[in-house]
């Protein structure tokens, strides 16, 4: 017999299995935040996800309004959305890659848990965390930088923001899966957040970037979602920005799917080649 990778933990559709999968998704997902997110303690969380975003908003608003004729609110909105990427990308990278560094990966892989539910559940706390950080940053923008949101636009802004945070978390999941094998997870997460800052229209409108940068920006999460947030903040309704939100969600689903398939591939490969510390 030759060592052959076979399907692992194929999901089953009976009610008991579905209930178990739901609990892995919902309860397991929520619990993963405290277990795996290195920043989930006040001494790290406050400076990194409260202090850092505050100064990022103030810095780019000051620099941007000094160097251009755009208002500080323009930069405040871009960076208030971008800081959600900080939480989503880094958080989700840790939520997956830390399983290997904590030595818990073999124990996880030895369970019969539904892998789709296990993987998808990890998104829950980090999407929520990204939303929280972004809403805080919007608050800074409203108080200090002249951001004005009409009550009628809040629902559309919220939907666009949710789609953006989801897609940023999805690229974090892909980076986490890559990090299971390549180890330098936070280095890659740094590159992604920097790329979002540069390519996605946070401080420089996409149309003013060179063509190749626009192509990159359109392939990354964030770009369409941020544009939807900006238009919604200017009063556009779902009818005007629904397409942008839809594209953002699709990009997020594409990255999440790629991340899951990479995770599944690595699990099969680990059985066959004794990688991921299962040896």
């Amino acid at each position: 017999m030759t060592a052959t990778a076979l399907p692992v933990a194929a999901p089953r559709a009976d009610p008991a299995s579905l209930r178990a999968a739901w609990r892995v998704f919902w309860n397991g997902g929520r619990m993963s935040y405290g277990m795996l997110f290195n920043w989930a303690r006040p001494s790290i969380y406050i400076p990194t996800l409260i202090g850092g975003p505050t100064f990022q908003l103030l810095f780019f608003a000051a620099l941007g309004s000094y160097a251009t004729d755009r208002s500080p609110a323009y930069f405040a909105i871009g960076n208030a959305v971008q800081v959600s990427a900080l939480a989503g990308v880094f958080g989700m990278t840790m939520a997956i890659a830390n399983e290997r560094w904590f030595g818990t990966l073999p124990a996880i892989l030895a369970t019969p848990a539904n892998r789709v539910a296990l993987f998808a559940g990890r998104f829950l706390p980090f999407v929520a965390n990204g939303l929280f950080v972004s809403l805080y940053a919007f608050g800074v923008g409203v108080v200090f930088l002249g951001v004005r949101l009409e009550p009628s636009s809040l629902a559309v802004v919220g939907a666009a923001l949710l789609a953006t945070v989801f897609s940023c978390t999805a690229i974090g999941a892909l980076q986490g899966a890559i990090s299971l094998r390549l180890r330098d997870g936070l280095f890659g997460a740094n590159l992604i957040t920097m790329a979002i800052l540069l390519f996605c229209g946070v401080n420089i409108p996409l149309a003013e970037l060179p063509a190749w940068m626009q192509v990159v920006g359109n392939l990354l999460p964030f770009t369409h979602g941020l544009e939807a947030v900006r238009q919604a903040a200017d009063g556009a309704g779902f009818g005007q920005v629904g397409g942008l939100i839809g594209i953002e969600v699709l990009i997020g689903v594409a990255y999440a799917t790629a991340a899951f398939f990479l995770f599944s591939y690595l699990e099969r490969s680990a059985r066959q080649n004794a990688t991921l510390d299962v040896r």
């Binding site: 178990a20 795996l36 019969p112």
Partner: protein
């Protein structure tokens, strides 16, 4: 620390293995592949397990005993579905470990030794709750099951503390509780007492015995002879990827029952002197144990205590302390088996595998 584990509300349909074995391995082989060098990369094949066969009866405590690198952990990892065999077959409770991974995983618990493998930043309770969800333990059962397991491993009252503050022994006991959350029929314990202090190791052995008392099938790997002797119904000695002996502790000791062990305390014994002992045709095996200021030579011989003077003569100028002749123990049988099997073959196989 014994307790009866509450049964799950919706237990898996018990599978009576057709052959009556809880675990069955037939000609299991696992070879690792690795590379050496940067520019001129050479592929290396490392045979970790080289054709292992054994069967474990339901309710039996079966020991896999062997030195580091013998293939114990690799064997366990194939049986718990984490590694694919290169060839051979294995079944757990009647399910094939390659094809029926989910069914096997539902029925087994896996406990490994060491500090890692737990979520340090949260409490023991949260660790157990999380894995209870992953194993699909019914929510109605979780609370009583977790409480019973905490009681069993002696962590009641400490379960809300973060694991990062736990001692090694507490972590090890938490590993055991985690491995039993879903009330598995078969429990694999991979060197569970490694690094524990004597009291912790004794408590752990009591816990392992309680598992067998509760009807579990247990496969235990260890390189502590007394632990295997005290706990296991049967022991397989594994060396260089092969089983070199299989039987009860008494069976294994019987293999060298006609031998005497001469323990010689020496001070500053040289390799040459030990080599002279090993080269003597009357000597079966020599094992050296380092102590603070001395070295204890354990010399096996079929000549009884009569050989003592001859051994002392072979040691030449070496300063000698206490000399004792005694009956062989399981550890002596193990040393004999390891010394007389596997090493040359393993070296030859490794040399031949470099491509």
């Amino acid at each position: 620390m014994t307790t009866t584990l509450p049964r799950p509300a919706m237990p898996s349909a018990p599978v009576a293995p057709a052959d009556g074995h809880a675990i069955e391995a037939v000609d299991l082989v696992r070879t690792y592949h690795t590379h050496l060098g940067v520019l001129r990369r050479r592929k290396i094949e490392v045979p970790a397990v080289r054709g292992i066969s054994f069967a474990v009866r339901p309710g039996e405590l079966f020991g896999l005993l062997g030195p580091n690198g013998a293939g114990k952990t690799t064997t366990i990892k194939m049986l718990i579905t984490l590694l694919l065999p290169t060839s051979g077959t294995a079944r757990v409770m009647g399910y094939d470990v390659v094809r029926d991974t989910t069914e096997v995983r539902k029925r087994i618990g896996y406990v490994f030794g060491g500090d890692r493998g737990l979520y340090d930043r949260v409490s023991a309770l949260d660790n157990l709750r999380y894995f209870a969800e992953l194993y699909g333990v019914d929510p109605d059962v979780q609370r009583t099951r977790i409480g019973a397991l905490l009681e069993m491993v002696g962590l009641t009252g400490r379960e809300k503390e973060k694991v990062e503050g736990y001692s090694r022994g507490m972590r090890q006991r938490l590993h055991i509780a985690r491995g039993l959350l879903h009330d598995p029929e078969v429990v694999f314990l991979d060197e569970p007492s490694i690094g524990l202090d004597p009291v912790g190791a004794r408590e752990l052995r009591q816990t392992v015995q309680s598992l067998v008392d509760a009807g579990k099938t247990v496969l235990l790997t260890t390189h502590y002879m007394f632990e295997a002797d005290a706990l296991c119904d049967r022991i397989a000695v594994i060396n260089a990827g092969r089983i070199v002996a299989l039987g009860t502790g008494s069976d294994l000791k019987g293999a060298i029952a006609n031998r005497t062990i001469v323990e010689i305390e020496t001070f500053g014994v040289t390799d040459e002197a030990v080599g002279r002992l090993r080269a003597d045709p009357e000597v079966g095996a020599v094992n050296t144990e380092e102590r603070d200021q001395s070295q204890i030579l354990l010399v096996q011989s079929e000549r009884g205590a009569h050989i003592t003077q001859r051994l002392l003569g072979l040691l030449g100028e070496t300063r000698i302390g206490k000399v004792v002749a005694r009956e062989p123990t399981l550890e002596d049988a193990y040393v004999h088996l390891i010394a007389t099997t596997g090493d040359d073959e393993a070296r030859a196989a490794r040399a031949a595998s470099v491509q």
